[in-house]
Symmetry: C2
Subunit: 200 residues, 2 copies
Amino acid sequence: MSKTVITISREFGSGGRTIAFELAERLGYNFYDKALVERIAKESGYSKDFVERRGEDATSTSSFLFNLSRSGSGGYDGVSGISDKLYVISHNIIKKLPEEGPCVIVGRCADYILKDCPEALHVFIYADMQFKAERIVKLYGEMEDVPQKRLEEKDKKRKVYYKNYTGRIWGMSTNYDISLNSGKLGIESCIDIIADLAQR
Amino acid sequence: MSKTVITISREFGSGGRTIAFELAERLGYNFYDKALVERIAKESGYSKDFVERRGEDATSTSSFLFNLSRSGSGGYDGVSGISDKLYVISHNIIKKLPEEGPCVIVGRCADYILKDCPEALHVFIYADMQFKAERIVKLYGEMEDVPQKRLEEKDKKRKVYYKNYTGRIWGMSTNYDISLNSGKLGIESCIDIIADLAQR
């Protein structure tokens, strides 16, 4: 059965977003990265910039899953904090994306939210530090912090965000159907492998 | 550059050993599973049965890496326990296997031992519980314990063994170059993907 929903989780700087974009282009699937931010912004009433800043690297201080179990509700009641509110909105949007047609979704715990979707292929992209550091300097330029520090901080936040909203360990193989080291295998190879699996 | 050394780490029941065997056949590589046990048995003086029993699911009670750092030696001095002795022998054999020609190595922390080998491709194979349970019943028959319990116990031991000897988390994507869910993707697909990557 072909896979019409592809979720791409990725380490910062690994090229995961590029892989996701190229895949969507090649397969003719909808691409949800900025488009998802726009949807969340529209639904929440916050600006796109704000939603982006409070994205996958901002978390509330208390556990979302704990709050949710205490509130006994999947909605807003009893769920505190802006990040939690944005997560719930994003969760509800992502849950329905497959109904709108074949798609590639970047980040935002989509692997977890769509874990029971039979049409989904869940992918994790990562790479070694040197590959990522060279890549972000090339893409975003030099900054005050050394690239290693930027990479570690960004991924640490994503890890905490993921743990907070899913209860799972970010980057653990068993969360995904396939995990690929883009630094070792090459970005083109990753696209080929995923496209091929999606079309089988 | 083609990959002439493939290490396969795998969850019990995931078909990882079958994938490794078929890969070695298809690529014409040496296959190290039982053959590795025989080597370790020969070098240690213990029987094959004993080495197999004290394999990847038997660990000493104290941390190997801690003992090693305290002893300040990569050899046997200061390293206690039969499991540790077998690990050191196995480590030294695996380290030299690539010199003997292209190969596929199953388990025994080969991904960690050969992590700096430029010709190596490190693979992790896993699957969902239902797939693994059905597979082990088909392969090994019904036993006193339910298959789920056998699977959990076996993998728990492998996890502890791996942590003890490598300091890393077993199954974490970043330890490997590619991780594949054989239950979801199918065993044949896994073989195709790995063989293709090895030959690129």
